[in-house]
Structures are given as structure tokens and as C-alpha cells.
């Protein structure tokens, strides 16, 4: 295909985009609305993942080591834990460190400061390993495996937070995926319909093109260009709208008491911009191409 025929297709595509004003704007609005809805869940999903990655570092499993385990057994336990899939880091906390930690918690209240004095001789706190995970979803799996190891007396973990977050993340992923499918279906239908109207309005031209020997690819070209333009324009408009909406919501949330009390930060739109842009453009271009291709086939049989 020569360059000038590509240029011809693009210019024809633009011409028709501007000619069918009513229908193109209608389909852009509908596409924007569906893309916006999808975008909301996409952004929430990204932030939940972000929050989870922040929490993953803090949430871990404390593995209490049986008193009386020998140094080599303790060392072997570490190796065994590290070998489990999903484990990120394993940190040893000795009995005296555990005692020191607890002492430091208590030291705040003055009247009980010496409560733990004398325990050095007969330290009741077990030595432990603090295990962090690469993936919170693997939490229960890892716990099961650790429990099965020798010299483990007990596990303590913040199971609740971990499972809740994991469930939330998965729910949002599913909603986003379902919305994506609905968005794609609606948008393809809308674009196909718009292009069909253009094709219908230009059926005469198409039949003449067929008679003077235009290939199907050449006839299809401008319509596909038109579909892609609709897709890209919708993507860019939605990007701007969702950018402003996101920043407004973010500012509100960050100043709220709840968000200030927990130490989780959220993405700024700037940080997400490139990702959202790429997702939207892929969607827009893909849907535009598919929608216009579907609508053309009927009219090419002359």
C-alpha cells in the first residue's frame, strides 16, 4: 500500500467523522460514559493493589519457635520457611529481643514500668520468625505449610485484615473485568451502528468504488479510520474528565480523618496517567477497528 492511499483513507475518514456530526457525537458520549464507569473501577482497583502492596510489607506471620529448639533446628526452620512459595523475607527475633519489645510497649505507662523486671532470668517470650509475604493472597496457604514444620509452637497473624484486603482486591478485579466486557460490547455495538449509518449514507459511493475497481481494503480503510477516530476522541475526553474527577475525590479523601489515621497513601492521577492513557487508547482503537469492520461486511458484496 502506497503512502498516498493511506493519506487518502485518513483524510476521507476525518471528513466523514465531521460530516456525521449527530451520530458521531452520540456515539462519543455513550463511549465516554461507559469508559468513565470502567475507569472508576480501574482506578479503584489500581489503588487497592497499591494499598495492598504497602500493607504486604507490614502484614506478616509471626512464627513462634518452640522453647528448647537447638540453634541448628532454628536455622533449619528458617531455611524451610524460606523455601515456601510466597514467602518474601524471614527475620529472626530472639527471646531477649521479644522481651525488650514488650518492655518498650509497657514503658509508656509509668506505674507498671518495672512489671517485667526479673524476667531476664526466665524469659517467657518465645523466640520467633517474622515472615512477610510476596502476595497476600497466599497467606493461608503459607500458614498451613509453616504449621506443618517442626519446632513451630504457634502462629500469630493479622488474618482478618489480610483476607479482607485480598477479597476486596479480587472483587474489584472481577467488577472491573465484567465492566470491561460490558463496555467493549456496548461500544462495539455503538460504533458499528454509527459506521453503519455512514456506510449507508455513502452506499452509492461504495458501489461506484466497487465498479471502478476498488479493493475491499481500500473501501474499508476510511471507515476504519473513522471508527478509530471516534475511539481515540472518546478515550481522550474520558481521560480528561476522569482526571479531574479523580483529583477532586482524592483531595477530599486525603483530608478526611479516616485516611489520615491510617498510613496508606494513594496514587496521584499523575502517577496513573500513562497507564490510564494506554488502557484507554488500546480500548478506543480496538473497539473502533472492530466496530467498523463488523458494520462494513454487508455492504462490500457488490
Amino acid at each position: 500500500m502506497r503512502f498516498n492511499s493511506i493519506g487518502y483513507m485518513i483524510s476521507e475518514g476525518f471528513k466523514s467523522f465531521f460530516k456525521q456530526k449527530k451520530m458521531t457525537s452520540a456515539s462519543i458520549i455513550i463511549m465516554c460514559a461507559t469508559m468513565f464507569m470502567f475507569g472508576i473501577f480501574y482506578l479503584i482497583g489500581e489503588n487497592v493493589n497499591f494499598a495492598m502492596s504497602q500493607l504486604e510489607g507490614e502484614q506478616g506471620i509471626r512464627v513462634m519457635i518452640k522453647d528448647g529448639a537447638t540453634d541448628s533446628e532454628i536455622e533449619k526452620l528458617k531455611v524451610d520457611i524460606q523455601a515456601i512459595d510466597g514467602v518474601s523475607t524471614v527475620t529472626f527475633v530472639s527471646k531477649s529481643e521479644a522481651l525488650a519489645t514488650v518492655k518498650s510497649w509497657i514503658s509508656g505507662s509509668s506505674d507498671s514500668e518495672d512489671l517485667l523486671d526479673g524476667y531476664e532470668e526466665d524469659n517467657p517470650f518465645p523466640a520467633s520468625y517474622f515472615v512477610t509475604l510476596t502476595d497476600l493472597n497466599k497467606n493461608s496457604e503459607v500458614q498451613e505449610k509453616i504449621k506443618a514444620l517442626d519446632n513451630v509452637s504457634d502462629l500469630s497473624t493479622n488474618n482478618d485484615v489480610i483476607t479482607k484486603l485480598a477479597t476486596l482486591a479480587r472483587t474489584i478485579q472481577i467488577i472491573t473485568l465484567v465492566l470491561l466486557l460490558i463496555l467493549v460490547a456496548i461500544s462495539i455495538f455503538i460504533i458499528a451502528y454509527t459506521i453503519k449509518l455512514t456506510v449507508y449514507a455513502r452506499r452509492r459511493e461504495i458501489s461506484i468504488m466497487k465498479y471502478v475497481g476498488a479493493t475491499n481494503g481500500f473501501i474499508r480503510g476510511p471507515f476504519i479510520v473513522e471508527g478509530i477516530i471516534i475511539g481515540i476522541v472518546s478515550a481522550l475526553i474520558t481521560l480528561i474528565i476522569i482526571g479531574f474527577a479523580y483529583n477532586a475525590v482524592l483531595t477530599k479523601m486525603m483530608s478526611s480523618a479516616v485516611m489520615q489515621s491510617i498510613s496508606i497513601s494513594l496514587y496521584t492521577f499523575k502517577a496513573l496517567f500513562a497507564r490510564v492513557l494506554i488502557v484507554y487508547l488500546i480500548l478506543g482503537i480496538g473497539i473502533g477497528t472492530l466496530g467498523s469492520t463488523i458494520s462494513m461486511n454487508k455492504y462490500l458484496k457488490v
Binding site: 498516498n4 492511499s5 459511493e205 465498479y211 471502478v212 475497481g213 479493493t215 481500500f218
Partner: protein, 227 residues
């Protein structure tokens, strides 16, 4: 150039519109295809353009059997033919120049070639001064000239005209016929489907007459010459 060998065509409704047609139009020939409405003229044109496929028999265009031509090759077959219709089929939102240039864009001609070729063809059909006009600003005869210019702009080896004078008054019709004759004299094979008796009589060319799907005459002469 155009050859029909035992061609029959039955539409899916079951009616046979062409029955065992045999004829051969040589390169550089001028031929009329005549017959009443519904006689099968249009079907023959459609078969040549490969808009329809024959039920049986062979159609050979430029030495190539088109019977089993792949759909993707049809555009290239059509580039060897210029086509003119009764209703001109011009694009109303484009001016004369653009209507003709359009046919060149379609076959991916270079812009430079288009700039050279279109004015030349427009002057050949006598419309050099109307390049900027739109179809609705032209008379019927002028519109058909634009259609003719569009049909020959890519230098096809044959020109197929389906009732080209059907919508024109007799004088204008004759002008168009003279143009077709001129194009023929430059070496292009011309096939004209018509039922304009006076024109056929006056041109005195080869006449293929079809009636009820059968070719009942194929020889030089007027419209009503004895069979």
C-alpha cells in the same frame, strides 16, 4: 476480449434469464446489446462485471476465464473496464474534477498522475471548463460526460455502457454516442446495452439482440433488421 461460451443464468427464484448465450466481442470492436426490458440485457452486463456468476458456461474476459475468479481478484478485473450507467451515478457532494479523480484514487494513482490525467480526460469529453461545477449544476448530457470521463480515466481496455442514453433527449443522446464512437476509435472495445432504436439504426454497428434470455441475432445492422 469478451467471450460468452454456453452461458446460462438462473436466479435463485428459479427463473432462467439467460439461456445458452454464445458471443465473442473482439478487441477494438463496437457492439450494441439490444432487447426489450427484462430480456436479459442487464444480466449480461452484470455477468461481464462479475456482479453475478453464471449458472453454467464460461465467460472469458481478456483471455482469462472469470468463472472461478476469486472475489479478491474482482477489483482488478473491473479495472480493465470502464462502466457507464443510465443514471450517471456521480457523487453529488463532489465537483466534476473530484468525481473523475475519485476513480483514480481508488486504483491508487499518484497525485501527480491524477493532476495530469483528469484535465486531459475532461477536455476529451468537452468539459474542460466545468471542472469546478457540481453534478446538480450540470445538464443530463454533461453529467453523462462526467461519467464517461470517469470510466475512461484509468485507460481501460473496454467500456461497458448500460443504457447510457436512457435519461437523455435525442440530441444529447447522439452526442454521447459520438463520444463513445470516438473512444472506440482510440482502440477501446465498447459494448453498449440500449433500446434506443434510432441510435442503433444510425450507428450501423454490430448488434447482439436478446429476447427472453436467448440471443436471437448477432450481426451488423440496424435495430429491426431482419433476423
Amino acid at each position: 476480449m469478451i467471450e460468452f461460451r454456453n452461458v446460462s443464468k438462473t436466479y435463485s427464484t428459479g427463473s432462467e434469464v439467460i439461456h445458452n448465450a454464445n458471443f465473442k466481442i473482439e478487441k477494438g470492436e463496437f457492439a450494441f446489446l439490444i432487447g426489450a426490458s427484462g430480456s436479459g440485457k442487464s444480466t449480461i452486463i452484470k455477468l461481464i462485471l462479475k456482479e453475478e456468476n453464471p449458472t453454467s458456461g464460461k465467460i472469458i474476459i481478456n483471455g482469462k476465464d472469470t468463472t472461478n475468479l476469486k472475489p479478491s481478484k474482482i477489483p482488478y478485473l473491473r479495472r480493465s473496464m470502464g462502466i457507464v450507467f443510465q443514471d450517471f451515478r456521480l457523487l453529488p457532494d463532489r465537483n466534476v474534477y473530484e468525481n473523475v479523480a475519485f476513480a483514480m484514487h481508488v486504483v491508487k494513482a499518484t497525485p501527480r498522475h491524477i493532476k495530469r490525467q483528469v484535465p486531459m480526460v475532461l477536455s476529451q469529453v468537452g468539459l474542460a471548463d466545468k471542472a469546478k461545477k457540481f453534478p446538480n449544476e450540470l445538464s443530463g448530457g454533461e453529467q453523462q460526460r462526467v461519467a464517461l470521463a470517469r470510466a475512461i480515466v484509468n485507460n481501460p481496455s473496454m467500456l461497458i455502457a448500460d443504457e447510457p442514453t436512457g435519461n437523455l433527449d435525442p440530441n444529447t443522446a447522439w452526442d454521447i454516442m459520438e463520444l463513445l464512437n470516438e473512444i472506440n476509435l482510440r482502440g477501446t472495445t465498447v459494448l453498449v446495452a440500449t433500446h434506443a432504436k434510432d441510435i442503433v439504426d444510425r450507428m450501423n454497428k454490430r448488434v447482439i439482440q436478446i429476447d427472453g434470455g436467448n440471443i436471437i441475432r448477432d450481426k451488423k445492422g440496424g435495430y429491426d433488421s431482419e433476423i
